[in-house]
C-alpha cells in the first residue's frame, strides 16, 4: 500500500475544496472496495477524503413523491428501510443479495455506484489492463473471461460492473445527485455509466471532484411487484454471474409499466429496453415474454467462453417476469 493522507470532513464544501486542490484525492465511503484495491496498489490515492460523516445519510421522501437515499446511507440501512421495501422491493433484495452483513454495514450507497470491476486481470497489478493502465491491453479478451460481458464490450475491455444495487436502481429509473464547486447537479443512472469504447478507464459521467450526495427513485417507478434475482456460483458471498431486476405492472392482463435491468452482462447495469418495449402495452403471455427476452438477447455478443450467459439471461428474464405476473 502506498502512503496516503487522510482527512475526515464535516461539510460538503470542505470535501469539494480538498479534491479540487488534489486530483489524486479520492472520497472514502465504507472503503469496502477502495481499501482492498489500495492494498494491492490498484488504487493509490494521494489522500482519502472521508465523507462518511457528512450529513448525507438516511432515506427521505423526495419532492416528487419518490424516495431519496442519501449517499452515505449504509447498504444495510437502505435495504432495511420500510419505504424502500414497500415501494421498491427489488432494490432491497438486490442490496441484500450482495456481499456479507459486515460489508453491507460498512458500504455506502454512493460508494456502491463507484465500485470497480472484479475482473481478475484488473485486480492483479502484474497483469496488463486497459482500465487500470490505459493502453496496456486486455488479457481477458483472449484469456479467462467466463464471467465477463456479453453486451457492449469493446476490444479494450470486456469487464462487467459488479454492483447488485445499481441493477435494481437502473430498473427503477434512479437519478444520481451530486455536488461540485459549481453547485448541485443530477444525472439519470442510465447515463451515469459511460460506454466502454476505447476509454474503459473512464467509468462514469461524474465531473472530476464531484461528490455523489444522493440517489433518488422517482414516484412513477415505485413498484411493489418487483423482484431481484441473482444467479451466482455459490449460495452467498459471490458476485452475480447474471442477475435481473424487474418491475411489472399488469392492468387487465395488459403490461403497464415494466422495468427490466440485467447485471453481470455489461460494464454497467444493462437496461433491457428492447424487451420492455416488446412487452409494454401488450397482453402478458408466456410466448410474448419469451419473444421479448429473445429480442433483448439478440444483440448480445458473447465472448468465446461465456455464451451460457445468453441462455441464462434469457431464462432469468422469463423466470422472474413469469413469477411477477403470477403474483
Amino acid at each position: 500500500m502506498k502512503e496516503f493522507g487522510y482527512r475526515r470532513v464535516k461539510h460538503v464544501q470542505e470535501a469539494l475544496a480538498l479534491t479540487a486542490n488534489d486530483t489524486g484525492a479520492r472520497y472514502l465511503g465504507g472503503g469496502t472496495n477502495l481499501v482492498d484495491l489500495m492494498k494491492d496498489e490498484i488504487e493509490a490515492p494521494s489522500q482519502l477524503v472521508d465523507v462518511r460523516f457528512l450529513p448525507l445519510s438516511g432515506v427521505r421522501e423526495a419532492p416528487d413523491g419518490g424516495l431519496a437515499i442519501g449517499a452515505t446511507t449504509s447498504n444495510s440501512d437502505a435495504a432495511a428501510h420500510p419505504e424502500v421495501r414497500r415501494r421498491y422491493p427489488a432494490l432491497s433484495q438486490a442490496v441484500l443479495a450482495g456481499a456479507s452483513g459486515q460489508l453491507r454495514n460498512m458500504a455506502t450507497v454512493g460508494g456502491n455506484l463507484l465500485q470497480r470491476t472484479r475482473c481478475a486481470y484488473f485486480a492483479d497489478p502484474s497483469e496488463p489492463c486497459n482500465k487500470r493502465l490505459p493502453g496496456s491491453g486486455c488479457p481477458a479478451l483472449p484469456g479467462e473471461h467466463h464471467n465477463h460481458a456479453i453486451f457492449d464490450w469493446s476490444r479494450h475491455c470486456v469487464a462487467t460492473h459488479p454492483s447488485d444495487m445499481a441493477v435494481a436502481l437502473a430498473a427503477f429509473d434512479a437519478v444520481v445527485h451530486y455536488e461540485t464547486l459549481d453547485g448541485p447537479a443530477e444525472i439519470p443512472l442510465s447515463e451515469f455509466y459511460l460506454p466502454v469504447g476505447d476509454t474503459p478507464h473512464r467509468e462514469t459521467a461524474l465531473p472530476p471532484g464531484a461528490l455523489i450526495t444522493a440517489v433518488s427513485l422517482p414516484k412513477s417507478a415505485a413498484c411493489p411487484r418487483s423482484r431481484y434475482r441473482k444467479v451466482r456460483e455459490r449460495a452467498s458471498y459471490a458476485f452475480a454471474t447474471v442477475s435481473v431486476a424487474a418491475a411489472l405492472e399488469l392492468h387487465d392482463g395488459l403490461v403497464g409499466r415494466v422495468g427490466i435491468a440485467l447485471g453481470g452482462v455489461a460494464s454497467r447495469p444493462w437496461r433491457a429496453r428492447v424487451a420492455e418495449a416488446a412487452l409494454h402495452g401488450e397482453p402478458f403471455t408466456g410466448a410474448g415474454l419469451r419473444d421479448a427476452a429473445e429480442a433483448e438477447l439478440a444483440a448480445a455478443k458473447p465472448l468465446r467462453d461465456n455464451g451460457y450467459k445468453v441462455t441464462l439471461a434469457r431464462n432469468l428474464i422469463v423466470a422472474v417476469l413469469t413469477e411477477l405476473a403470477e403474483r
Binding site: 472484479r118 481478475a120 483472449p142 484469456g143 479467462e144 455459490r234 449460495a235 459471490a238 423466470a319
Partner: protein, 699 residues
C-alpha cells in the same frame, strides 16, 4: 467391540473439546509468524511473472537504499543448497530456490527482500527491478499429451489381474467414460510462514508444517547441516490439507535470510503466493471402463489415470488406488500417466489420488447401476469382495456394507425413485446420490517418550503435529488409556523435531502412527519396575518394530449420501443434505472426529461444485489466485450436513484406530455428481459442476 478388555479409563471414545481451544480463541496460541523475537527482520518473496524463462537481471541498487532494507537475496548471492536433497519421491527441484537464473514456473521465487519491518520489506519488494526473458511454455494438460509417461509406482504397482480386455468384451453391460478434475488448492487459513534464526551453531525455526521432524531432516539435508544442528517447532498450525507436509519455501527462504543477515528472519507468504508457490492437486483426466453381468457382478475394472506434474519434482496422484480394493471383480487393470508441464510442482491435497480417483470410479459405478437398472446401493453390496481383489490378502475390519446400509436407513434412500428427473419442487429438480469409499490405513514408525513423574502424572513427548484437527487432544486420550490413568494426569509435548523421528500429519496415518509409539512406550513403562520417588523415562522408536509388510488389507470406509437441488433455468446446483457414515476403527474422540470428517465432506462439496484453479491460456499463470476468485463453499452452501460412525475396532492397528484425516473428502464429489444426474438426467464428468455446465435452454 470398542476397547481392549483391560481398559479401565473412558479416555478413548469420549468427546472432549480441544485442549488448546481456550488458547486459540483468546489469541494466546502462537503460530509460526506470531512469536515475538528480538532483532527480528522480515523477508518478502518476489516471484516470477512468467511461466518459463530466465532471469536476465535483478537490479537491487535502488532497493538497497530504501528505508530499513537489509539486503536482497537472489540466485547470485543466496546460500548454496544441496541439489540432492529429497522430498517425497527423491531429489526435489521445488526446494532449489534462488539457485539459478532459470524460471520453471510462474510464481517461482526469484528474490527475497529482507528489511527491518514487514512494510519496508514489502515496499522494497514491490520496487525491485526484475527483468525476465520469457520462453515458450506449456501449461495445457491433456491425458494424451506427447510428453506423458508412466508415473512412478512407488505407491503401488499397476494392477494386472485377470484379462481385462476379454472380460470387457464378454460383459453384457459396459461403462466406458472419461472424467476430468481441475487443479485444486489447499490454501489453508494460516498462510505458510516461518521464523528462522541461529542459536550458536544451531538453526532454529518456528514453521507452519504438518511434520516438524520431517521438515527438520529435509532442511538439514538441503543446507548440508547435521540433523542435530537443526530444530524446527510447529506448536500450532492453522490448517495444512497436505500443503504443509514438506519443507516449504517459507522456511527455506527464512533460513537463507537468517544466514545472510545474521539475525532472525520471518517469511510469510501472501495469499496469492500460497496459491502460486505451493503445490496444488494436479488436474486429472481418467478413463474408467467397467464391465458387468446383468446381475450386477463386476467382471472388469479398467482405471487409467493421467495427471500433470512438473519436471522439478516427482509426484504421484495415485487415482486408481480405490479401484484396487473396493469391489470384487475378475479382472482389474490400473495405469497412471504423468504429464510434465511448466507448473508449480503438484503436491498432496486432501486425499491425494483417491479423491479424484473416487470421483471417476464412483461416478462410473453410478452409470453402471443406471445401465443395469440396479439400485446403486445394491450394486455396491453385490460386489463386496472376500479378499483384496489385487493383493489377495484378507481384509481387516471392513464395514463398508454397514456404512451403506446404515447410511441408507438414515438418509431415507429406499424411498428413492431410481429414475432421473422425476422429483420436482416448484421450478427445482431434486436428486439424490451416493458413493462408497475405501482409504488405506496403517501405522508408520515414530518415536515417543513417556516420563512417569514423581507426582503421579505423566509427560508424553512425540513430534506429532496438530494442524487444527485436535490430534494433541486425541493423543492425550490414547496415552491415558495406554497408561491406565485418567487424561488429567497426562501432559503432552508435540511438534518439536528435537523429540525425535515421527510420522507427519499426512496420509491419514498420523494418529495410528503416533498411537503406536505411545502405546509401545506406555507398555514398556508399565512393565518396568521403578522407584516412584524418582522420575523415569521410557523412549521407544517403533522403527525397530516396523516390518513394512502388510498381511491384511486395512482401510477406512465410508458411504456418502447427497441430496441436491438444481435449477435448470439458471444451472445453480445447491447441496441440500449430506450424510456420511464412516468406519474408521475405534473413534478416539467423537466430537473431534465428527468435526474432522464433516470438514472433509465440505472440502468434497467444494471440489464438486466450486473449486478450480484457472490458468490464463496465454500467460499460463493462475488467474484466480485468491479467495475472491477461487471459490470454496460458503456457510449457505452447507445447509444440512451430518456424519456418524459405525462401531468398529481394527485389531491390526494401535488402539484399534484407523485414519480419519482424509476419508471425509474422498467420496463426496461423486455422491454430489451422482445426485445431480439423478436430479437432471444429465451426467457431469467434469468438475466442478459449474452452473454454466448445467444451465439448460428452456423451452
Amino acid at each position: 467391540m470398542n476397547a481392549p478388555a483391560d481398559v479401565i479409563t473412558d479416555a478413548v471414545g469420549t468427546s472432549r473439546p480441544r485442549l488448546e481451544g481456550p488458547e486459540k480463541v483468546s489469541g494466546r496460541a502462537r503460530y509460526a509468524a506470531d512469536h515475538p523475537m528480538h532483532d527480528l527482520a522480515f523477508g518478502v518473496v518476489v516471484t516470477s511473472p512468467v511461466a518459463r524463462g530466465r532471469i536476465r537481471d535483478i537490479d537491487a541498487s535502488a532497493v538497497l537504499t530504501m528505508p530499513g532494507v537489509l539486503g536482497v537475496l537472489d540466485h547470485r548471492n543466496a546460500p548454496r543448497l544441496d541439489p540432492q536433497a529429497s522430498g517425497f519421491f527423491g531429489p526435489d527441484g521445488s526446494m532449489q530456490l534462488l539457485q539459478s537464473d532459470s524460471i520453471p514456473h510462474a510464481g517461482r521465487a526469484v528474490a527475497l527482500v529482507v528489511a527491518q519491518t514487514p512494510h519496508e520489506a514489502q515496499a522494497a519488494a514491490d520496487a525491485l527491478a526484475v527483468t525476465c526473458d520469457a520462453h515458450p511454455h506449456d501449461t495445457t494438460f491433456t491425458a494424451d499429451h506427447p510428453a506423458g509417461r508412466a508415473a512412478l509406482t512407488v505407491l503401488g504397482e499397476d494392477a494386472n489381474v485377470g484379462d481385462v480386455d476379454a472380460e470387457l468384451a464378454s460383459s453384457p453391460v459396459v461403462v466406458d467414460e472419461r472424467y476430468f478434475t481441475p487443479e485444486e488448492h489447499c490454501s489453508a487459513m494460516e498462510p505458510h510462514a516461518a521464523t528462522a534464526w541461529w542459536d550458536g551453531g544451531r538453526l532454529q525455526a518456528f514453521d507452519s508444517n504438518q511434520g516438524a521432524f520431517d521438515v527438520a531432516r529435509t532442511l538439514a539435508s538441503l543446507f548440508s547441516l547435521e540433523l542435530d544442528q537443526v530444530r524446527v517447532r510447529s506448536e500450532h498450525v492453522g490448517g495444512g490439507f497436505g500443503s504443509k507436509g514438506l519443507l516449504g519455501p517459507q522456511l527455506i527462504l527464512a533460513t537463507m535470510g537468517s544466514m545472510a543477515f545474521g539475525r532472525p528472519v520471518r517469511v510469510t507468504l501472501t495469499r496469492r503466493q500460497v496459491f502460486l508457490m505451493i503445490g496444488m492437486r494436479p488436474a486429472t483426466e481418467q478413463r474408467v471402463r467397467l464391465g458387468a453381468d446383468t446381475d450386477g457382478s463386476l467382471r472388469a475394472i479398467d482405471h487409467q489415470a493421467a495427471f500433470e506434474i512438473s519436471p522439478l519434482a516427482e509426484w504421484v496422484e495415485n487415482c486408481p488406488e480405490g479401484s484396487k480394493v473396493l469391489y470384487a471383480t475378475r479382472a482389474i487393470r490400473t495405469r497412471i500417466t504423468a504429464v510434465p508441464l511448466d507448473l508449480t510442482p503438484p503436491g498432496p491435497m486432501r486425499g491425494p489420488g483417491l479423491t479424484p480417483g473416487s470421483f471417476a470410479l464412483e461416478s462410473a459405478m453410478d452409470e453402471l447401476a443406471e445401465r443395469l437398472g440396479i439400485d446403486p446401493l445394491e450394486l455396491r453390496l453385490r460386489n463386496e469382495p472376500a479378499v483384496g481383489p489385487v493383493s489377495g490378502l484378507p481384509y481387516g475390519s471392513r464395514n463398508l456394507a454397514a456404512c451403506l446400509r446404515e447410511g441408507a436407513r438414515r438418509f431415507g434412500w429406499h424411498s428413492r425413485d431410481p429414475r432421473p428427473r422425476r422429483r420436482r419442487e416448484g421450478h427445482l429438480l431434486v436428486g439424490t446420490g451416493l458413493a462408497a469409499t475405501a482409504f488405506g490405513s496403517s501405522a508408520f514408525p515414530s518415536t515417543a517418550s513417556i516420563t512417569a513423574e514423581t507426582d503421579g502424572s505423566y509427560t508424553v513427548r512425540i513430534a506429532a503435529s496438530d494442524i487444527g484437527t485436535g490430534s494433541r487432544t486425541a493423543l492425550v486420550a490414547i496415552a491415558a488409556e495406554a497408561l491406565r490413568v485418567g487424561t488429567e494426569r497426562i501432559r503432552i509435548r508435540i511438534a518439536d523435531s528435537d523429540l525425535g523421528p515421527a510420522w507427519s500429519a499426512s496420509g491419514s496415518r498420523g494418529t495410528p502412527s503416533w498411537a503406536w509409539a505411545i502405546n509401545e512406550a506406555a507398555t514398556r513403562l508399565r512393565e518396568q519396575p521403578h522407584d516412584p520417588t524418582r522420575p523415569v523415562t521410557v523412549t521407544v522408536d517403533t522403527a525397530e518394530l516396523f516390518t513394512g509388510r502388510f498381511v491384511r488389507e486395512v482401510h477406512a470406509y465410508s458411504a456418502i449420501f447427497a441430496e441436491v437441488t438444481v435449477d435448470p433455468a439458471t444451472g445453480e446446483v445447491r447441496t441440500r443434505r449430506l450424510l456420511g457414515m464412516f468406519a474408521i476403527g475405534r473413534v478416539v474422540n467423537p466430537l473431534l472426529a465428527r468435526s474432522q470428517v464433516i470438514g472433509g465432506m465440505i472440502m468434497g462439496l467444494g471440489m464438486a461444485l466450486h473449486e478450480e484453479g484457472v490458468r490464463d491460456p496465454v500467460s499460463g499463470r493462475q488467474v484466480n489466485a485468491d479467495f475472491a476468485g477461487y471459490h470454496i463453499p460458503a456457510h449457505a452452501d452447507v445447509p444440512d450436513i451430518e456424519a456418524d460412525f459405525v462401531p468398529e475396532y481394527e485389531p491390526d492397528e494401535p488402539s484399534g484406530v484407523k485414519g480419519a484425516g482424509e476419508i471425509g473428502t474422498v467420496g463426496t464429489a461423486a455422491a454430489i455428481a451422482n445426485a445431480v444426474w439423478h436430479a437432471t438426467g444429465l451426467r457431469h464428468r467434469v468438475l466442478p459442476i459449474r452452473l454454466d455446465r448445467v444451465v439448460e435452454e428452456m423451452a
